[in-house]
Symmetry: C2
Subunit: 265 residues, 2 copies
């Protein structure tokens, strides 16, 4: 989507994609596939294609070591790679950014290249949050803010004033699955949707490489957890597939709002 957005505005681009991580759709654009560990090959592809400006995007799994191929570039980079094992997630990502910057690359955020992929402010779908929802949103954003200052998670779920779940290393989808389980266990089967999942970046989070993201699956998982809607920090959360995300929210009757959150608040 990012490539599409850039290409539609005539921005020349080349995608370096990790085999087994990126989707085949990237082949619709100029691209180079690399395996995990082919760092030399990556730099060669960037150089050959005149790429001085980078956007680093997409989640990766821990590499399957049987499939890692350490080329000469990787071996030269080994001290840096080994240094990444410590500290919170965003420290790792900050160091990755610095690694490229020290080699003379400029690193940009996805939102700089394609601002239309960021969640806008206000009510984004058909449904509006109720005043009870508004109270839950406020608490959830406060929890996310307090956690963020401790370099923890990006999201929390609040239902009728109760903080039901807080995300740490398990990820948003696993957190929502837990809420669905908790609800099933306590439910009489007749409750109305209630509560909100709020998501915002951590203060100091390297927003160029690690924007919090929501998509249609997030909305489906929130619905399965019985929530009334989702609130995100406007301009600071990626809605990778905006139309599908809003449509899913409308179809399932969830609200979707972008809230003004001071960066680093």
């Amino acid at each position: 989507m990012l490539a599409q957005s850039a290409a539609s505005r005539g921005v020349p681009l080349h995608i370096v994609a990790i085999r087994g991580e990126a989707r085949d759709e990237i082949e619709g654009f100029p691209h180079t596939w690399v395996k995990w560990g082919e760092i030399g090959k990556m730099f060669k592809a960037l150089e050959r294609n005149g790429c001085g400006d980078l956007v680093i995007i997409g989640g990766v799994d821990r590499p399957d070591f049987s499939n890692v191929r350490l080329d000469l570039g990787a071996i030269k980079t080994l001290p840096f790679i080994l240094s990444l094992g410590k500290g919170g997630d965003d420290h790792v990502l900050s160091r990755v950014v610095r690694f490229f910057e020290e080699k003379g690359y400029r690193v940009h955020g996805a939102g700089d290249v394609a601002p239309e992929l960021l969640a806008a402010e206000g009510v984004l779908g058909e449904k509006r949050p109720s005043s009870e929802d508004r109270a839950d949103i406020e608490i959830a954003l406060r929890v996310v803010g307090a956690l963020g200052r401790l370099d923890v998670g990006q999201s929390a779920v609040v239902v009728k004033g109760h903080v039901v779940a807080v995300e740490a290393a398990e990820g948003t989808d696993a957190m929502l699955a837990r809420c669905a389980e908790l609800r099933a266990r306590r439910s009489t089967g007749r409750e109305r949707r209630a509560g909100v999942m709020a998501k915002a970046p951590k203060p100091g989070q390297e927003q160029r490489v690690d924007l919090p993201t929501i998509g249609p699956d997030t909305v489906r998982n929130a619905a399965a957890a019985g929530l009334a809607g989702i609130a995100v920090a406007a301009g600071q959360v990626l809605m990778a597939d905006r139309d599908a995300t809003v449509e899913t929210a409308d179809a399932l009757g969830l609200f979707l709002v972008g809230e003004t959150v001071a960066p680093g608040a």
Copy 2:
């Protein structure tokens, strides 16, 4: 254990136990069984046995409504019961305490009656935390403190500086089970134990009725999650079965420490 402790010091007591919640062991002491909803029967048992001082202890599940029996005392209490549906868990418990106090009862904490059931300060088993463990303990207690101020959870897991999990409504055991899963998914099977689960009361938590608790199962679950040990707020966490808890930690090679945490810090 509380009854045993009180009885051993000659404190007269009578246990009012909820059928299906309390264990049969309570029958070793003077007792009255009540069903969920038999509030009138409970007050009669307290009165008949001259109980002016109460300790409220033990977790309960959401009652199975087919087994609830509303007696006259319950019906008189209904406006109060219905008022309990909102706010964080400890608000509910504070209101329960107030409810008894307004009827003239004095409510005490388990630790007031049996201080030996509270976690002591310092290293409680054979294993000592390493300096890396100490760093994880510090972060984990900071996370628990920050969350507590928002009326969330009581525990968090930190491994090598990463906050892996934060407890909200799911409970400590579910949080530890999640850590075990996350570890299994990312493990090469050769890691040494690392990380800590820290537990402390929320500031303002009604410590008379809702002390955080650990026991042998907590230790076993922490071991299954690959953690190196457990840290608790000294004097503020109940170790319901202290000997078995310490023995389990020793047998599994986990450290167990009581840390000085300012109440409400």
